[in-house]
């Protein structure tokens, strides 16, 4: 295994593109090292991006926030403004692993690991977040929901690397929330995850996005679920429709963490509960 | 004579008897007498059993005294975690 510490994303991209075997990017390493040590993925080239300038920075941009690819969960949680504007995203990343994992894990890593159960991904999708990508052909932007394509696989081309995540401007009276179900109170992989982001006008939901995790091969943006609550004040009928739409969107598997029935049912429950929290945040 | 209570798989090796009377002064004597009377039992007894005498479980000691008033119960060999 070759270990590299490039100074720029362009150099990182060149190193990744040049590897004909397996190449991996190292930011927090909380997935890469687990896979390495368990012999699941032993990369031929490992590119540590933490020496690239700016990767640890959180910068305001067009009313939103640009979050460097190596900003850890702990660092994001300590950023008061981001936490005030996007508490759902911050909490979602904060749910990943232990305090120790928080010292290392990143939004970008959580996304690029392409696990369907990644906690921060539904939250980023609900927020309408985008990522910046550096590749052999220059840089490009992409929607978060377009990155994962199946468990463990992304739409990134060889040599492409995500350099930052962009959270858009929150807008007036906005709120988001992410909830997940795990068997214990901590340390588990999500069995179901649900995120809701909305803006409220005059007590009614003006716009909303609902995303689910761990209920399909990738995190899902569920437009029917959002439609169920737009224009409502989350009355019981709207909440029931939201839950039903969320459950209807599920295409899960039964595995050691949960059954199809359980995931489908609980997706609706969590979507409802998350919507309530998002609404309270938007209106308070 | 000492009356000895057997658990099932031992009693299966003693023609189904659940209680057997043997001449014995110690737990060791009891086991020797049983194996002599029912040779089929020897392997099981050798593999290890525990003997309860008057409510005390004797895990492995053979020298514990018994008499005709003793309550003697053969149990599976005790082990723990």
């Amino acid at each position: 295994m070759q270990f590299h510490t490039p100074d720029t994303f362009e150099e990182a991209s060149r190193l990744l593109a040049a590897e004909t075997g397996t190449a991996r990017v190292l930011a927090g390493g909380t997935d890469v090292l687990v896979q390495l040590r368990s012999d699941i993925v032993v990369p031929d080239t490992l590119v540590d991006i933490k020496r690239i300038e700016g990767v640890k920075e959180i910068v305001g941009e067009n009313g939103g926030w640009r979050i460097g690819a190596a900003v850890s969960g702990a660092e994001l949680s300590e950023h008061r403004q981001v936490k005030a504007e996007w508490p759902g995203i911050v909490e979602a990343l904060d749910l990943v692993g232990s305090t120790q994992i928080q010292g290392r894990c990143t939004l970008t890593g959580n996304l690029c690991n392409a696990s369907p159960a990644a906690d921060s991904v539904p939250a980023m999708i609900a927020a309408g977040a985008t990522v910046s990508i550096t590749g052999p052909n220059g840089t490009r932007e992409a929607k978060v929901e377009d990155i994962p394509v199946s468990p463990g696989k992304t739409s990134l081309s060889p040599g492409e690397i995500v350099s930052s995540v962009f959270l858009p401007a929150r807008g007036a009276n906005g709120g988001d929330a992410y909830l997940r179900f795990i068997p214990r109170t901590e340390m588990d992989i999500a069995v179901v995850g649900a995120s809701v982001s909305m803006n409220v006008e005059g007590g009614k939901v003006a716009s909303a996005r609902v995303a689910l995790g761990a209920v399909a091969p990738t995190a899902l943006l569920v437009e029917d679920a959002a439609a169920a609550i737009i224009g409502t004040s989350l009355d019981d009928d709207a909440m029931a429709k939201l839950a039903a739409a969320a459950s209807a969107a599920c295409n899960p598997i039964s595995d050691k963490r949960g059954t199809i029935e359980f995931r489908t049912r609980v997706a609706g429950v969590l979507a409802r509960r998350a919507a309530k929290i998002a609404y309270e945040r938007a209106t308070s | 004579m000492v009356t000895v209570q057997l658990f099932s798989s031992l009693s299966a090796l003693a023609d189904g008897q659940r209680e057997i009377k043997v001449e014995a002064k110690t737990v060791g004597d009891v086991l020797v007498a049983l194996a002599r009377a029912y040779p089929g039992m020897a392997e099981k007894l050798d593999g290890g059993v525990s003997v309860a005498v008057d409510g005390r479980v004797i895990a492995s000691g053979l020298t514990e005294p018994v008499n005709e008033l003793s309550e003697v119960v053969i149990l599976e060999r005790l082990k723990g975690g």
């Binding site: 090292l33 540590d48 290392r104 901590e186 | -």
Partner: protein, 157 residues
Amino acid sequence: MIHVTTSVNGDEMEFVCDPRETLLDALRDRLQLTGAKEGCGTGDCGACSVTKDGRLVCACLVLAAEAEGSEIGTVEGIAEGEDLHVLQQKFLEHAALQCGICTPGILVATKALLEKNPNPTETEVRYWLAGNLCRCTGYDKIIRAVMDAAAEMREAA
């Protein structure tokens, strides 16, 4: 092999390592600092907790090569000379360890907590320590020791 220069508990140290080796491997096998334990190797048990540049991390999920230029803190650096840290003393007084294998990781983790939050609630302590598995104690006496240490440190401050 990669040459690494790093600081451990304030002492400059250097070692060479395979790129696949973890910081935990290097601390234990290269530097003979065996206080950090490997309970799982996958970041699930916290027995290898150390600080890297002030952040609590699992040493099993950091590559040894990443330690270049870092400041690492381990359980061996908690006491000052022969004087135990309040946390260490309270763990002894409260019988907060049975086998003691999780103790180094828990001490490193709770020290990091109290530096960040000197007055945590019981719930905050429990969630902060959720990544430090203990199989012996049921956590009861550990939590009591941490709360007591925090109170004493606040009084002393």
